[in-house]
Amino acid sequence: MIEIKDLVKTFDGFRALDGTNIVVPKGSVYGLVGPNGAGKSTVIRHILGIYKEDSGTVTIDGTPVWDNQSVKERCASIPDDWYYFPNATIKEMMHYYKGIYKNFSVERYEKLKEAFPIDEKKMIRHLSKGMQKQVAFWLALSTMPDCLILDEPVDGLDPVMRRQVWSLMMSDVSERGTTVLVSSHNLRELEDVCDHVGIMDKGKVLIERDLNELQDNMVKLQVVFGTDITEVPKDIPVLHVSKLGRVFTLIMRMNAERAMEVLKPYSPMLVDAIPLTLEEIFIYELGGENYEVKDIVI
């Protein structure tokens, strides 16, 4: 389990993380989402032991990460800008990883060759960005990690390779109980793989829940009221309202049953509940934090 408690990090007076709290349960796939500059990469660099916390704690299975060799041996990462030695081939980089990671499996490395059809004698810097990302996955998965920390992991991969990579990761999660924390802006993809989601903004985690719970906790309703009601009554707690003809679309922070109850006194002619996508949840949650799509026409 990855646990971050009251994490604070300041860069030259700017508070990048302002008391961040995150719990990633063991064996889960946790999606960390948030707008640009929310502090996601800073959180990841703390989990990897790159940054030292100003205050608060970052632990994996109860052990602090900072300067801890044994914890790092169990973690693999794929940062957005993966580093490799300028003149290294894939095979040379493999030998490097093998010498550093105690659990590195040559057998797995060989098996993964099928998934990543790249000539291992090629210099990494001569590969395309997408292929370099594949190499990063190849090596990271070969270290047999208990924790996999990913920052924009499928950026630059083609659709087939994306599916391939997610599939490999999911099999790791199911077979070995690997804990995965993934930061991405591709919410549709995250929705398919994550079981937990944390939404970050301005250095804080606004919401952290099981994805199903999160989806249950917010509902989109299409409602048609009687002719006497032209506006949504003020006592109905809505996050967002839009109107097309007589059809109102309401976003409410409650489950569908409770929303029906709230609307019942107004005798709507039609009520239809539609589940929200992660992207919609992200947009409407952050809308409440003054981060919304502005209707700007230039």
Partner: protein, 646 residues
């Protein structure tokens, strides 16, 4: 391969060495060249190298003394850039700090890698050389181990130094610059501050000093550690063959190598401590450790202000005599320099040009206030540097350097030393007069131009040096001039000018006469200079001494035209070791006047002309010159006279 200890990772080490093979490969090639040369020469039949044990010892000591420090100094920075460059990029620092190895383990691994990169060429070149020597019949003297030890010690020290700098900075371009700056900072600052003080304080004279040389290791190692050798005449084949044979070799001051190696350990531990505290996000910063930024900034501001301020001051002070104007100019020049230094320093440290705000303005005001305080402090000599004169009891010896020099012993010559202290005090008390006279009429016929330097060698081992220009109008400042003249022409003192009663021996002497001479005088002289025998030198010396005793020679104070010049060269044995003798040298210059009867007679004897002829010629020449000088005065030269005001 897995590392069994967390303090060293073999994979990272191997990778470091493998990655930079062109660097150590090239150096190894150069290191192999001497052995290759010896082998080729041997095959051709004439070996350049002697395998005599003492010669081998000399060779190894020379290598340890002159090659090892220089090579270590140069290669350490490259090795440091190769192994610590990952600290300067967010991407690489992220990688290295996320891999499973402790920071201490990574530091040790990188440090050992860097040191190995430096030592591989030595190992390859050294092994080849030792093998070559063994093949040629030479041995493996203890000096070989001494040389190996020195190479390791020097390499360790300079690499630890470069490593410390690499951890102070987070910028790959700043690393070599800071390495050079910190290597020479102290000796440069010492001389720069000396220069600034000598520009503003009465009596302080700039001369290169190296009191802080021990803080400039490469300078100290190359200047103070040396090899002493002694050779004896050797003619094994025939009496006509004049050869020499090495009979002893001594390595002097080698303890500095050990001291620096110990300092290297402190530097390495310091670097590790900084590394453990260092934030990865400092990658790219000129100074990575926050708490060091104000110190580095202050050193930068002091250095740039002194250097640039002085440059501006010398550019604009031309023609300014008034001291009040000078202090205003100094405040403006140093103030401008301090402002530029302050803001450029901030720009470099903060990696932005947006450094102009209220917070930094406060710092600038403090800096400028310091400049004003220092300028006034120097002007009013707050630290009493100008007025400082040593106590008689503290003086070991005194050297007085003027037109001619003399040396006084603190114990034996107490009366003369006291006279020297009195005249020194008189000069200081008359600062106003002497500074005014410096800007006086250069064409003044009553003017005396000269200088005097006092070197006080004190009992605590230090030396206090003061130098004054003694430019005086003899009529306007009669009393001061007479006091100074009395001191300089004091009989006992002037005998010291001639090294009478001290340990200096006349080593050689030569003289010439100023007028064009005819066939009565001997020819065949080297540019008018006469070579003298020991007896002639002694006779001439005694003649000058007799003139001095009679008062016809007043060194440096006669208004009469000189007719001949004599140089006596003296030497004094200062120190003698088993292998080497150290001498101090001095030269006495005698401007012979036409009234110096004894000296002119001695010259006539040497040249084989009659006393009468020579005296007549000398007087005629002196008279002609006097008339010529009167005709050629630059009367139209108009020099403005300024009054010195505090």
């Amino acid at each position: 391969m897995k590392s069994k200890t967390s303090l060293f990772n073999k994979t990272i080490f191997n990778n470091n060495i493998k990655r930079v093979w062109p660097f150590w490969g090239l150096l190894s090639f150069f290191a192999l060249l001497p052995s290759l040369l010896i082998i080729v020469e041997s095959f051709r039949g004439y070996s350049e190298i002697s395998t005599e044990p003492l010669e081998m010892k000399h060779l190894y000591y020379q290598c340890a003394t002159y090659i090892a420090p220089f090579v270590a100094f140069a290669t350490a920075i490259i090795a440091a850039m190769l192994v610590w460059s990952y600290l300067d990029s967010t991407r690489s620092v992220g990688f290295y700090h996320s891999i499973p190895i402790s920071k201490t383990g990574l530091f040790v691994t990188q440090f050992v890698s860097g040191l190995t990169i430096m030592l591989i060429p030595y190992a390859i070149g050294g092994a080849a050389f030792i093998l070559t020597v063994l093949c040629l019949g030479g041995g493996f003297p203890l000096a070989t181990l001494v040389c190996i030890g020195t190479v390791i010690a020097d390499s360790f020290f300079f690499f630890a130094f470069a490593t410390l700098i690499a951890h102070l900075t987070g910028n790959i371009l700043a690393l070599p610059a800071l390495y050079l700056v910190f290597n020479f900072l102290f000796i440069a600052l010492e001389n720069l501050l000396n220069f600034v003080c000598s520009s503003f304080l009465f009596g302080l004279d700039f001369e290169l000093s190296d009191k802080t040389a021990f803080l400039t290791p490469i300078y100290k190692l190359l200047s103070d550690v040396y090899v002493n050798t002694e050779y004896s005449p050797w003619s094994p084949f025939s009496a006509n063959y004049e050869g020499s044979r090495l009979i002893s070799v001594e390595w002097v001051n080698y303890h500095w190598v050990l001291i620096y190696a110990a300092v290297g350990v402190v530097f390495a531990i310091g670097a590790l401590m900084i590394y453990k505290r260092r934030r990865s996000e400092a990658a790219g910063d000129v100074i990575s450790t926050k708490c060091l930024k104000p110190i580095i900034h202050a050193v930068y501001v002091v250095t740039v202000t002194a250097l640039f301020g002085l440059l501006l001051y010398y550019m604009f002070n031309e023609g300014i005599i008034d001291c009040r104007m000078k202090i205003v100019l100094a405040i403006i020049c140093f103030g401008v320099a301090a402002t530029i230094a302050y803001y450029t320093g901030l720009m470099l440290l903060e990696k932005t040009v947006k450094v102009f705000n209220k917070k930094t303005l406060k710092g600038l005001i403090v800096t400028l206030a310091a400049v004003v305080v220092i300028c006034f402090g120097v002007k009013y000599d707050v630290l009493k540097v100008e007025r400082r004169i040593p106590k008689l009891s503290d003086i070991e010896t005194v050297e007085v350097i003027s037109q001619n020099n003399f040396y006084l012993d603190g114990k034996k010559d107490q009366e003369l030393v006291q006279k020297t202290l009195d005249i020194h005090k008189l000069i200081i008390d008359n600062k106003r007069v002497l500074v005014n006279e410096m800007y006086g009429d250069m064409n003044d016929e009553y003017r005396y131009d000269g200088y005097v330097s006092f070197f006080y060698h004190l009992k605590d081992g230090s030396t206090m040096v003061r130098r004054y220009n003694i430019d005086l109008n003899k009529e306007n400042h009669k009393e001061l001039f007479e006091q100074y003249k009395n001191y300089m022409t004091d009989k006992k003192m002037t005998l010291r000018v001639m090294h009478d009663n001290d340990d200096y021996e006349i080593e050689s002497a030569d003289f010439n006469i100023n007028w064009d001479h005819d066939e009565r005088y001997p020819s065949g002289l080297d540019y008018g200079w006469y070579e003298l025998t020991d007896k002639q030198i002694r006779d001439l010396y005694e003649a000058v001494k007799a003139d001095l005793q009679e008062g016809s020679w007043e060194p440096g104070f006669s208004d009469k035209e000189g007719v001949a010049n004599i140089y006596f060269n003296f030497e004094k044995l200062m120190d003698q070791t088993e292998y080497r003798s150290y001498y101090s040298y001095d030269t006495l210059y005698v401007d012979v006047k036409d009234n110096m009867k004894h000296s002119l007679e001695a010259i006539a004897d040497i040249m084989g002309v009659s006393h009468e002829d020579l005296m007549n010629d000398a007087r005629k020449y002196a008279k002609d010159m006097e008339e010529w000088n009167k005709e050629h005065r630059y009367d139209d030269m108009n020099v403005e006279y300024y009054e010195y005001r505090d």
